[in-house]
C-alpha cells in the first residue's frame, strides 16, 4: 500500500479506527459554509449543493436562501439563453425548493432538453440533458425518451475496457469520475425509456460496474475509495469527488434496475467508511459531496451500511463508566432491530485469550444505545481491544443492511492508582546503611532537603497498585535531577512487581553529572494513559558534594538562553566629556588684574613726585606737529596691539604695523633729530 495514502488516513482519522456517523458538527459546518455571506450560493450549482446538503441534514432552509434560489431558478428556466448546465442545476434546485414554474416554461425546457439529447456529443452533454429530463419527469410526469436504446448505446460508447469511462470521444483519458456520471446518465435513460429498454443492455453494464470496482483503492482501516491518477492532472477531481460521483451513479443505477448488482456489500461499507472518515470537511463542495454520497448510501438498493460507534472509548473503573455502543445508519438515523454482542475483550498487544465471555449488550430505550451494565471483574485498568458484533433480528434485513462483521474497538480503561510507601533515602555506599530517610506524600506537597557526597547513594522508592490490587506499571516513571545551572539528568525508575525503586550511586555518576556540586532539585514523574492520577512532583532538593573536576572532564552542555533576555533595550551610554581645566575664580583674576595696574600707578606717582613737565616740547609749529604725530603714531601702534588682541589676526596687524612703522620712523627721526639739535645748541651755548 502506498505509504502516502496510509499516512493521509492517519491524519484524517487520527487514532480512531472506527467511524462516527454524521453529527451536529456537520450541521453547524454546513450552516457556516453554505451561507450567502460566505461567498457561496453565487451560481446555481452552488445553490443546489447548499439546498441538497441542508435537505439531507434536515436543516431548516432559511427563507432568503429559498427566495434567492427560486429567483435564480425561474430566471434560468425562463430564459432560452441559459446554458444546459445551469438548466440542469436549476431543475435540481427546483426539485428541492419546489418553486412555481409554469407549464409553458416546462414545455420549452422539455423541447430544449430533447434537442440537447439528440445533439449531445460528450458525456457531460448527455448527463445534463438526460438528468434534466429525469428531473422534469419527477415534477411533471409525462416525459419519455423516444430513442432510449440509441441514446443508451451512444453513451455506452464512452466506456473503456477497464470499467472507466471517457468524458468525450476526443479525450483519450478515462476516469472513474466519468464512470459515475455515465452511470447516473444511463440510470436516467433507463427511467425515461418508454417502452422499456432491452435488459441485455443493462446486464452488460452490470459487468462494467464490477470491473470498475476492481480498481477501488483501500486504506488500512478498511475505507475504500476511487481515485483517478491522471497523467495530466488538469481536471483532476480528487478522491472525494471521484468516489462521490461513482456512488451517485451506482446508487442511481441500482435504483432503476431490477437486477441485483453483484457488488460485495463490504465494498459499500468501505465506501461509507471513506466518507465518514473524512470528518467534517472545511470546503462547501467537499461537504456536499460527502453528505450527498452518504445520503445516496443511506437508502441505496445494494446494501445499507450500519455504523457501530462508541461515544466514549475511555472508561473509568473508578467512576464506573458505562460502556455504550451506538448503531446507526451513516446519517445517524436509527437502525433496524438488532442486538449488539460483545464477543471478546483482549489486552492490547498480547495474543492471550479473551478476558470475558461473549455477552449481549442491553438496549436502552431512553438513549437509544446498547449498554454493558458493569465492566467485567476481570478487566482492570489498561488498554484493551473490545470486539463487537451486530446481529440483525430479521433475516431479510441481512440482505438490505451490511454490518461489516466483527468490529474491533480499542478501549482504554482508566482508574486511580494507589501510591504507597513512597520514600527517599540517602545511603552510605559501602555498608548500604541508611543515613537519612524521609517519607514522601506523593499526593501532596513535599519539600525534602537532603545532602550527600559522591560516596553515597540516593534511593527513591514507591509502590503502585491498581484498583483491583494488582501491580501497575506506568509508561512514564522518571526521576529528574536538575542542577542549579539547569543541567538535567533523567533516570527511568525500574520496578519489581509493585515496588518501584531507583538507586543512584553518585560515585558512578560523577562524570555524568559533570562534577557539578551544588543543589539539585528532584522531580518525580509517574504517568500513564490509564492512570487518572498521573503526577509530576517536585520532591525537594539534594545538596551534592562532588569532587573537583579533573582537567580533561567534559564540560556541561550549553543551556538554552531565555529568548526574552536576549533582546530588549541595552543600557544607555552617555559620553563622559573631558573635564575643563581648573581655573581660579573670576574674582581672583580680577583682583590680580587690579594688582597689575599698581606699578603703573606707582610710576605715575613717581613721575609727579619727580616733577616731570613738558617744557622741552618743541615750541615751533613744524617740530611740534611732528612731535604730536610721533606720539599719535606710538599711540596708534599701541592701539593696534589692543585691536590685535581683540579681533585682528596676525596678517592684518603686520600690514597695519608696517604702514604705521614707516610713519613712526619718519616722524620719530624728525622729532628726535630736532630734540638732539636743540640739546646740542643748549650744550654749546
Amino acid at each position: 500500500l502506498d505509504l502516502r495514502f496510509f499516512y493521509f488516513f492517519l491524519s484524517i482519522c487520527e487514532s480512531a479506527s472506527f467511524f462516527q456517523p454524521i453529527s451536529d458538527s456537520h450541521r453547524s459546518a454546513a450552516v457556516e459554509l453554505f451561507s450567502p455571506d460566505h461567498g457561496s450560493l453565487k451560481s446555481l450549482e452552488e445553490t443546489y449543493e447548499a439546498l441538497r446538503t441542508f435537505d439531507v441534514l434536515g436543516i431548516e432552509k432559511k427563507p432568503d436562501v429559498t427566495a434567492t434560489a427560486c429567483r435564480l431558478v425561474s430566471e434560468t428556466v425562463g430564459s432560452s439563453s441559459s446554458t444546459l448546465k445551469n438548466v440542469f442545476y436549476a431543475l435540481k434546485a427546483n426539485s428541492i425548493v419546489k418553486c412555481k414554474i409554469n407549464d409553458k416554461a416546462y414545455q420549452g425546457i422539455i423541447t430544449r432538453l430533447n434537442a440537447a439529447v439528440d445533439g449531445a456529443s460528450s458525456l457531460p452533454d448527455f448527463y445534463y440533458s438526460v438528468g434534466g429530463l429525469v428531473l422534469v419527469k419527477g415534477s411533471k410526469g409525462d416525459v419519455h425518451l423516444a430513442d432510449a436504446d440509441g441514446i443508451f448505446r451512444s453513451v455506452k460508447a464512452f466506456r473503456q475496457s477497464d470499467g472507466r469511462w471517457r468524458s468525450s470521444s476526443s479525450n483519450p483519458e478515462s476516469s472513474a469520475f466519468a464512470a459515475g456520471i455515465a452511470l447516473e446518465t444511463l440510470a436516467g435513460v433507463v427511467s425515461l425509456a418508454s417502452p422499456e429498454l432491452d435488459q441485455s443492455l443493462i446486464s452488460t453494464l452490470n459487468n462494467d460496474i464490477s470491473k470498475l470496482f476492481d480498481s477501488i483503492e483501500k486504506y488500512d482501516d478498511g475505507a475504500l475509495y476511487f481515485d483517478d491518477k491522471l497523467v495530466d492532472g488538469h481536471d483532476h477531481q480528487g478522491p472525494l469527488a471521484t468516489t462521490s460521483s461513482v456512488v451517485r451513479g451506482l446508487t442511481a443505477f441500482a435504483a432503476v434496475t431490477d437486477e441485483r448488482l453483484n457488488i460485495p456489500s463490504n465494498k459499500i461499507l468501505g465506501l461509507a467508511n471513506f466518507f465518514l472518515g473524512i470528518g467534517v470537511p472545511g470546503d462547501a463542495k467537499d461537504l456536499f459531496n460527502q453528505i450527498d454520497s452518504l445520503a445516496c448510501l443511506e437508502s441505496n438498493r445494494v446494501s445499507i451500511p450500519l455504523i457501530l460507534s462508541l461515544p466514549s472509548t475511555v472508561l473509568s473503573v473508578t467512576k464506573e463508566d458505562l460502556l455504550q455502543v451506538n448503531v446507526n445508519t451513516v446519517l445517524g438515523s436509527n437502525a433496524p432491530p438488532l442486538t449488539v454482542k460483545l464477543v471478546g475483550v483482549f489486552t492490547s498487544g498480547s495474543k492471550a485469550a479473551s478476558l470475558v465471555e461473549s455477552q449481549e449488550l442491553v438496549f436502552d430505550d431512553g438513549t437509544g444505545m446498547y449498554n454493558l451494565k458493569n465492566l467485567p471483574k476481570s478487566i482492570d485498568v489498561g488498554s484493551y481491544t473490545f470486539v463487537f458484533e451486530i446481529v440483525l433480528h430479521e433475516l431479510e434485513h441481512e440482505k438490505i443492511y451490511i454490518t461489516g462483521g466483527q468490529k474491533k474497538v480499542p478501549i482504554f480503561v482508566s482508574g486511580l492508582i494507589k501510591i504507597e510507601n513512597a520514600e527517599i533515602a540517602v545511603l552510605d555506599s559501602d555498608l548500604g546503611s541508611i543515613e537519612t530517610q524521609k517519607k514522601l506524600d506523593l499526593a501532596g506537597q513535599n519539600a525534602v532537603s537532603l545532602s550527600a557526597n559522591h560516596l553515597q547513594k540516593l534511593r527513591v522508592s514507591f509502590k503502585l497498585t491498581t484498583p483491583h490490587g494488582l501491580a501497575f506499571k506506568p509508561h512514564q516513571a522518571l526521576l529528574k535531577l536538575r542542577h542549579e545551572s539547569k543541567v538535567e539528568h533523567i533516570f527511568v525508575v525500574g520496578n519489581s512487581g509493585k515496588q518501584f525503586e531507583i538507586v543512584l550511586n553518585f560515585l558512578g555518576l560523577v562524570e555524568k553529572f559533570f562534577y557539578l556540586s551544588g543543589r539539585y532539585d528532584i522531580e518525580l514523574a509517574v504517568g500513564d494513559a490509564v492512570m487518572e492520577n498521573s503526577l509530576l512532583l517536585a520532591i525537594g532538593h539534594i545538596e551534592l558534594d562532588l569532587p573537583e573536576p579533573p582537567e580533561k572532564a567534559t564540560r556541561p552542555p550549553p543551556q538554552p538562553v531565555d529568548p526574552y533576555s536576549r533582546y530588549g533595550p541595552k543600557a544607555e551610554i552617555t559620553h563622559i566629556f573631558r573635564a575643563p581645566e581648573k581655573r581660579p575664580p573670576k574674582e581672583l583674576s580680577l583682583a590680580f588684574l587690579g594688582l597689575t595696574f599698581l606699578p603703573l600707578l606707582g610710576f605715575l606717582i613717581g613721575l609727579l613726585l619727580l616733577g616731570v613737565n613738558l617744557k622741552n616740547f618743541p615750541s615751533n609749529a613744524v617740530p611740534a606737529t611732528f612731535a604730536t604725530l610721533f606720539h599719535v603714531s606710538i599711540g596708534a601702534v599701541l592701539s593696534l596691539y589692543v585691536l590685535f588682541w581683540l579681533k585682528l589676526d596676525l596678517f592684518q596687524t603686520l600690514k597695519l604695523l608696517g604702514f604705521l612703522g614707516v610713519i613712526l620712523v619718519l616722524v620719530g627721526h624728525r622729532v628726535l633729530s630736532h630734540l638732539a639739535s636743540t640739546s646740542a645748541k643748549l650744550k654749546s651755548a
Partner: protein
C-alpha cells in the same frame, strides 16, 4: 524596429519586479505559495487553514510532493515566495527540489512552513535539521503528556495534547490573547541552545515526554518537559521566516473545529485555539506582522536643517529616522519605546533611546563626544519577533580649529592687564623722557 526594442525593454523592466519575489520592502505584496502535499485529500481535510490563507490574498498552488514537474525556480528566478511542506512522509521530492534547493530558497529570503508528523521521513527530518531543530530520532515516538492532555472520549493514549505554553510576544501571536489551548498530536523537537535564531513558540508542559506510546520505556526519553518544542519559528538573518512543527494534524479542520478541555481543568472551550494560533502565526511567517523598514534617516546640528558633511566635537546634533511596520496591506507606523541609537567608533560612545511621536518618527538629540575620528550613527534594533533593523551611517568628527577655542579667558586677565599697563606706562614714559626738563 527600434520602437519594438523599446517596448520589449520597457515591458521587461515592468515585469522584472514581479518575477523575483522574496519579501522585500519595495514589493511587499504579490505572494505565491507552493504547497507540497502527500495526498490531495489534505487539501480538503485541512481546507480551513488553506482558505484562511487564500482569503488573505495568497495564491496557493497545490502539488504532490513527488510530482516530477515541481520546481522552485526557473531560469534562475524563483516561482514562489513561500513554500509549505505538508508532506511528512515524502522520501524524495519530485522534480528539481531537494533539501539543498529548499535551503537555497530560504537563503534567498523566502518563507517556509514545515509540518512533520509521526513516522516523518528522513527527508523532512533533514529539512528540520537544516532549519535548526532536531526531531526525536525514534520514528515512532510521539509527544505524550499524562497531565496536560486534552480530554476526549475517543482518544485515550494521551498523545493528543492541549498545550498553552506560548511564547510571550504580541508580534508573533497577535494582540488578542489565545484563550483556548492548542491541540497537538505529533512528534516533538528540540531547539539547539546554540542557535539564537530559533524560537520555541509553543512548548510542551513540564510533564510531557517524547516516546513511543506503544512500547515500554526502558531508557530515559531524549526529550522531556518544557525542552520539547511543539512549534518553533526561525527568523533567518536575511529575514526569511520559517515555521516548524511536528504535527500536521494541528492544521486540520478537525482540530480547528474541535472543542478542547485540558485535563484537570473545568473550562471547556467550544473551539480549540489552533485556528487562531496558526492563523496568527502564519501572518507573522508571511511578514504581515513584525516586518520593519526604516526610511528618511536625517541628522543635523540643532537649529539647522541641512545635513552637514562632518561634525565638530561638542556639537549638539539631532537625529531622526522613520520606522514603519508592514501590516499585510500597507506600511503602518511602528510604535515602540526601545529603539536605540548608537554613536559608534569601535565601541558606542553614545547610546540613546530614541523618543517616538507614535507616528513612526523616532528622534533624539545629543552632544557629539569630544573625541574626533570617523564615527557611525547606528540603529541596531532587535526585538523578539521583529525583523532586525540595522542602519549605519558614517560621519567624521573633527576637533576645534585654532580660532575656535575660547578667546578671552578670565584667568588670563592679569597677564593682559600687565601687558596693557606696561604699554600705557611706555606711552607716558615717552613724553616724560623726551620733553621733561
Amino acid at each position: 524596429m527600434g520602437k519594438l526594442w523599446l517596448i520589449c525593454i520597457a515591458s521587461i523592466s515592468i515585469l522584472l519586479p514581479f518575477l523575483c519575489n522574496a519579501f522585500s520592502p519595495e514589493t511587499p505584496t504579490d505572494r505565491r505559495v507552493l504547497v507540497l502535499l502527500d495526498d490531495f485529500a489534505i487539501m480538503s481535510s485541512h481546507s480551513l487553514y488553506f482558505n484562511a490563507l487564500k482569503s488573505r490574498g495568497f495564491d496557493l498552488e497545490f502539488k504532490l510532493a513527488d510530482d516530477p514537474k515541481i520546481a522552485l525556480q526557473r531560469y534562475g528566478q524563483y516561482l514562489y515566495d513561500a513554500l509549505i511542506l505538508f508532506c511528512p512522509s515524502v522520501e524524495r521530492f519530485g522534480g528539481s527540489i531537494d533539501v539543498a534547493a529548499i535551503v537555497n530558497f530560504v537563503d534567498s529570503g523566502h518563507d517556509l512552513i514545515v509540518a512533520a508528523d509521526v513516522n516523518a521521513s528522513d527527508l523532512i527530518r533533514e529539512v528540520g535539521t537544516e532549519c535548526g531543530v532536531d526531531f526525536d530520532e525514534d520514528p515512532s515516538a510521539m509527544v505524550i503528556d499524562h497531565i496536560g492532555y486534552a480530554v476526549s472520549g475517543t482518544e485515550g493514549d494521551h498523545t493528543l495534547i492541549a498545550s498553552d505554553d506560548f511564547i510571550k510576544s504580541d508580534v508573533i501571536l497577535g494582540g488578542k490573547k489565545i484563550e483556548a489551548p492548542i491541540l497537538f498530536r505529533g512528534i516533538g523537537h528540540a531547539v539547539s541552545p546554540a542557535n539564537s535564531l530559533v524560537l520555541k513558540v509553543l512548548s510542551a508542559s513540564p510533564s510531557a515526554y517524547s516516546a513511543n506510546p506503544k512500547s515500554k520505556l526502558s531508557t530515559p526519553p531524549p526529550l522531556t518537559g518544557s525542552a520539547i518544542s511543539l512549534v518553533s519559528i526561525v527568523q533567518a538573518r536575511n529575514n526569511a521566516r520559517l515555521l516548524i512543527t511536528g504535527s500536521l494534524s494541528m492544521f486540520s479542520n478537525r482540530f480547528f473545529r474541535s472543542g478542547v478541555q485540558k485535563a484537570g481543568s473545568q473550562t471547556k472551550h467550544e473551539k480549540s485555539g489552533n485556528e487562531q494560533f496558526l492563523t496568527e502565526i502564519s501572518k507573522w511567517i508571511f511578514h504581515e506582522r513584525g516586518h520593519l523598514k526604516a526610511v528618511n534617516v536625517k541628522h543635523h546640528r540643532v537649529g539647522e536643517t541641512d545635513e552637514p558633511a562632518l561634525y565638530r566635537i561638542n556639537d549638539e546634533l539631532e537625529y531622526a529616522v522613520e520606522i514603519y511596520e508592514w501590516s499585510g496591506t500597507s506600511w503602518e507606523p511602528y510604535v515602540a519605546n526601545d529603539v536605540q541609537l548608537q554613536f559608534y567608533m569601535m565601541s558606542p560612545y553614545v547610546l540613546k533611546t530614541l523618543s517616538s511621536d507614535k507616528k513612526g518618527l523616532y528622534s533624539t538629540s545629543f552632544k557629539v563626544p569630544d573625541v574626533y575620528g570617523v564615527f557611525q550613527f547606528k540603529v541596531e534594533h532587535q526585538k523578539l519577533g521583529y525583523t532586525s533593523l540595522s542602519l549605519s551611517k558614517q560621519i567624521p568628527v573633527r576637533p576645534y580649529r585654532h580660532n575656535e577655542y575660547e578667546r578671552f579667558i578670565p584667568a588670563a586677565y592679569p597677564y593682559y592687564g600687565a601687558a596693557f599697563s606696561m604699554m600705557a606706562g611706555f606711552f607716558i614714559f615717552s613724553f616724560a623722557h623726551l620733553y621733561s626738563k
